[in-house]
Symmetry: C2
Subunit: 442 residues, 2 copies
């Protein structure tokens, strides 16, 4: 793929083909091209496509490219970058480079907004919003607004919705460009879509994703404390947020800390091991509980060693039953159907579900023992009773924990993973041996 030289016809071909490409694909190719090949493409790409591609590159490629570009090219590139792209880039670059860019390359007029955007916390709405939008006062005529659109140098995709404010600049709603064209003699109010869903720049970015999901919004407005528009988040960015949150949830459930966009194959094994070890250690330590319980009942177990054969089955059934409950409750929590106030209702509901599920499992388990194992009636009874109680209690705990976590501002998905398994294991064993010592060692 990496070549040494091109003749003039090849250059023309290359220019045509790369300018038809998507910046996402271009950025991927840039990552593996030689510096020479990249330099050629930088010369051949349209300015705005180059800027979009640059914004998507990895941190190290960005640094490489800035180092090779001339002063003029850097200025041009920066001019083409949207504010949000510029801020993302600055956040990645080494401090000395950032200082240089801020002081010498970024137009003075843009510096205040860049500084403001740099100030928003990680994962906040402010850190992902776009500040390129068009707004107009409601007192303007449709013709005036159309003139403003025609003379605007915003990207065309930022001009689909024009935001409408009252005369003190408070956000009232938006109008579609197409409606302006089709109602040129009307007043704004007749085509205004009122807005009552806004977010603050300091809100968690997850809120944008939830809003976009619930109301199928294509642009979510970001306002300040005075309800003045300061930015927007398009729905397609909300998808990125959803995917991040999704990865975070999945990772919480499986106890992997430090979720990044890092490539799995490229990250060192030692680093992955480090990310995974914390949870495994926590589980190992908490497993001390189950060990204690088994040792405490060693004499019970010694008289009836066969009891050990059912420990894995009981623990797994309890663990699975509990995670099922917590998964469902987390989902209901996410869409706002349940919360800490309904915890008793949820627990009661899960208790009943646990009863149905438990009875079915006990029935199947008795059949299984009858046909495949040969154990005493006492053992069978012990296993059956424990299974029923364990499943019921696991469901209740699984339903309860996410709500408690949420109440204390802990991410409830953390509860769906190893924690619930450990708790349920402990409970299952306690019940098992208590029932066994009553029924078997009379």
């Amino acid at each position: 793929m990496n070549r040494e030289r091109y003749d003039i016809n090849e250059i023309k071909e290359l220019q045509k083909s790369i300018n038809l490409m998507d910046p996402v694909d271009l950025a991927e190719i840039f990552e593996i091209l030689s510096p020479y090949e990249i330099a050629i493409r930088i010369k051949l790409l349209n300015k705005d496509l180059l800027a979009d591609t640059f914004a998507l590159l990895s941190r190290s490629k960005k640094v490489d490219i800035i180092k090779t570009l001339s002063r003029e090219s850097i200025m041009e590139l920066i001019k083409e970058l949207d504010e949000d792209e510029l801020v993302d880039t600055l956040q990645e670059l080494p401090a000395n480079m950032v200082g240089k860019l801020m002081n010498h390359f970024i137009e003075e007029g843009r510096r205040p907004i860049i500084n403001e955007l740099l100030g928003y916390p990680d994962e906040s709405v402010g850190s992902i919003m776009s500040v390129n939008f068009m707004s107009a006062k409601i007192s303007r005529s449709i013709k005036e607004i159309l003139d403003k659109v025609v003379n605007s140098d915003l990207d065309a995709n930022k001009l689909e919705q024009i935001w409408i404010t009252d005369n003190s600049l408070k956000l009232k709603g938006f109008v579609y460009l197409a409606d302006l064209l089709r109602n040129i003699e009307q007043n704004i109010e007749s085509i205004l879509h009122p807005i009552n869903k806004t977010v603050s720049a300091y809100d968690d970015q997850e809120i944008v994703a939830k809003l976009a999901f619930r109301y199928d919004l294509s642009e979510i407005p970001v306002v300040d404390s005075e309800n003045r528009l300061i930015g927007t988040v398009p729905a397609e960015w909300a998808i990125d947020v959803m995917v991040d949150e999704y990865n975070e949830d999945i990772s919480n459930i499986h106890g992997i800390t430090d979720i990044e966009d890092d490539s799995y194959m490229e990250v060192s094994n030692l680093k992955i091991a480090k990310n995974r070890i914390t949870w495994l250690i926590i589980c190992l330590i908490t497993a001390t509980m189950t060990g204690f319980i088994i040792k405490r009942y060693e004499s019970t177990l010694a008289t009836s060693v066969v009891l050990a054969a059912y420990i894995p089955m009981l623990m797994d059934s309890g663990g699975n039953a509990g995670s099922q409950a917590s998964t469902t409750v987390i989902r209901a929590l996410y869409i706002g159907e349940v919360d800490y106030h309904t915890i008793l209702k949820v627990m009661l509901k899960e208790l009943k579900i646990g009863f149905y599920v438990g009875i079915a499992l006990v029935f199947i388990n008795i059949l299984r023992i009858f046909f495949m194992d040969s154990v005493s009636t006492q053992v069978m009874l012990t296993v059956s009773i424990t299974l029923l109680i364990t499943v019921m209690i696991s469901k209740v705990i699984g339903g309860m924990l996410p709500l408690i976590a949420d109440k204390f501002k802990i991410d409830p998905t953390v509860m769906a993973g190893p924690i619930i398994t450990t708790i349920v294991d402990t409970v299952a064993l306690l019940i098992y041996f208590e029932v066994a010592s009553k029924l078997i060692n009379l």
Copy 2:
């Protein structure tokens, strides 16, 4: 909230306030209002807002409302519904109602497209796409296209992008409405955004979500086999698909079948129990394996009952280590970083990660045993060796299974849940007792 009567001023107030609401919120309120209150609101709502609200109602509310509406009102309502909303509605209604609507209420001109949309499989792109879009041949002048926009009766949000085809109607790209306005004297080509990402109506809807995510597209074009545009999917709908897929993944991981949008609190406990029981039964049956193994080594266990105390810890460590690996690999699989061809690389990588993690766990476990338990060196050695091997093998199995599942077109997330636990449990126990019988019962 439900009232008996309104005076004229209250009616005016109500009309004003409900017409400022979002259809999502309105639909939610409709679900709990009395038939009288709903009837009033149906009369007061703007036609298009009423249609949007209706499209979001539950199946039973839709049936109720259609039953109470006059012939004329039904016709008006149906006229306002977009094709995709109409199709969704028809899919929910009872067959006799569908027949009646199709034959007597839907305008004849719309029937062919409705029938076509009804034919797309569940979860396909065709089943979620919108057929309301504007396209124009590339030979048209910008002025002609603008005239078309001005005279169009499409919703304004469908006119933000105008799709451009060649003269044989094959999709070439799109232009933004704002660019048409700003370049009225130019030709189309100068403002055309070429398109090379399209989907087929028969593709799985997940593909749309992935495209929207990867390329940050705000509209994804759907084409037929001749590359002619037949529909579009906006990014905000792609979010809904993501959430569906997310729920499906989470449910697979936790073994809950039959994932629907049903409300958790409203669905009967018995139905929830039914959805959850299948996986629990599968796990119960497969747990027969672990039971068998323990029974087979009953004599080993009888000579050293304390061995039982470490079974839960070993099983949990193996299970957690395995799910961590499968979660990471599923994510890498999702973004296309690994696939079945790289399975050996993945296995080797996980083996190494497992080694690091395992060594760390063994070290901590020895400390734990040393300070808290008092067991023989043989038992400690047995536990340590088993822990290391189990973690390593679990990582390898966890990394391998999703890739194998994907190869056989099984959803890999199915592998991240109970299946891996069962396999890993079995492996852990086999290793444990084999090592124990070698080291302890010499």
